[in-house]
């Protein structure tokens, strides 16, 4: 597979790999039998105004070069963002940024799913719904 320079950069220097012992939310998707497993760990802090912010993110990935690159790029895109902003990160943006070949699009889909799973895990753990309180402005990108 001939990959883009972006994929090679993330593959050779993956960002934010590792574990977060005090993660607020963890998402793991994929399966060894299908050749890729992605795990995203988020550390979320709630600001005084109620904004939920991803202050730290760590990932682990078993998968092909594009799965590793997609995971790495995702962590970059969401680190420091509010949860509302992070929820706007879509697989298509990852696929485009990495110039993934069509056969590898599922890697970016999996990255988005891992993020969604981590956020859902945080919601469950914190007992929050993520719905914006009445009177607040919708999140901007």
């Amino acid at each position: 597979m001939l990959y883009s320079a972006q994929v090679l950069d993330h593959f050779e220097h993956p960002r934010n790999m590792g574990n977060l012992p005090d993660a607020s939310g963890v998402g793991m998707v994929g399966a060894p039998a299908s050749g890729d497993v992605l795990k995203i760990q988020l550390k979320i802090v709630v600001d005084p105004d109620g904004t939920e912010r991803i202050v730290e993110v760590k990932a682990k990935v078993f998968g092909c070069g594009s799965a590793i690159a997609a995971t790495s790029l995702l962590t970059e895109l969401i680190k420091g963002k509010t949860l509302a902003e992070a929820a706007q990160v879509k697989n298509r943006a990852i696929a485009v940024a990495l110039a993934l070949p069509p056969l590898k699009r599922h890697c970016s889909v999996l990255a988005e799913e891992a993020l969604k799973a981590a956020i859902a895990d945080y919601r469950q753990r914190s007992g929050t719904t993520g719905a914006a309180p009445a009177g607040t402005a919708p999140p901007t990108q």
């Binding site: 597979m1 793991m28 998707v29 399966a31 060894p32 039998a33 299908s34 078993f62 070069g65 799965a67």
Partner: protein
Amino acid sequence: MALKLPIYMDHHATTPVAPEVFEAMRPYFTERFGNAASRNHSFGWAAESAVEAARAQIAGLIGCKPVELVFTSGATESDNLAIKGVAKAYREKGTHIITSQIEHHAVLDSCKRLEKEGFQVTYLPVSRDGLVDPADVAKALTAKTILVSIMLANNEIGTIQPLAEIGRLCKERGVLFHSDAVQGVGKIPVNVDALGLDLMSLTAHKLYGPKGVGALYVRMGKPRVKLVAQMDGGGHEKGRRSGTLNIPGIVGFGKACELAGQLMTSEAARLTALRERLWAGIRARLDHVHLNGHPTLRLPGNLNVSFEYVEGESLLMSLKDVAVSSGSACTSASLEPSYVLKALGIGEALAHTSIRFGLGRGNTEEEVDYVCDRLAEQVTRLRAMSPLYEMAQAGVDLNTAQWSLRETG
């Protein structure tokens, strides 16, 4: 370090043309360019005599008569001609074919096409080591069986099949026996009589000859194999394969076979030692590595290893200056892991982590040691970011763990 990078360790895919082979071919492009079918002038005669010399060289390597060889464009064509050609010629006699699950696609897909045309095909399973059990062949043979096709050595795991035993069974039952022998010829001793073969597919580029030329051995006595040609045309190769002969390719093929015959004993011993050095080097540096295929009944230059918890394509990418291949889904167009590894029953998870090393004439001990070091470094790097490795280290059974199903984008 005097190592020349990148290192080529993918000799099952193809081999470089040997310098002697290239030199032998050279005059047949520009000076001796005649058509072997031109029977009325010296250009044609020169081409024809070159073809006959090559035919004798190839026949010498596999123990057949030169006249029993049909030149083709390569093993894919040879497999198609053998299977479809026999099926069409013997249709009145029967419509059942036996093959194995780990054959090359040229064999499997030829069989699948015949199934659509009303033939029945039995795809025999293999053992965990990749061996076809001759007893399974015996059980599968019916009164309607016309052909058994079992490869000599597998292209992924290098397992060498018990062809002589299967050949005896076929002979007893009067069933034709074909083998795709491209990975074995020139690497291990092959004699069509000793193996009981009636048809055998060969190709030049796996034994240091050029690409685009192959041959089909077709037995001409006891029994005299009938074949329906698959292409219409000028009736070349005694009507078995029309098309102007690729003279430089055939000359190169012949020379490559002659060289392979001379070097076989010493190369087989050297490559087996290199292969063992590679496997020992990997095991000395890494844990959780598994050999795929048979420990001893395998091609000298073949090593297939699963590096557990590390996806194969990511390892290939990490080994930037080493050319090897993987059974991982991500290196295929289908997103399915290798059907050969799946047939071994090792599980899809391990199939995704496999790497195939194909050692050949150019490889050295220094290269093997270099590859071992790079593997250790890169497997360790990738395992450090693998959630599976971490889970396994923590004692989680990955086979019973709950996994989310992948959504395909």
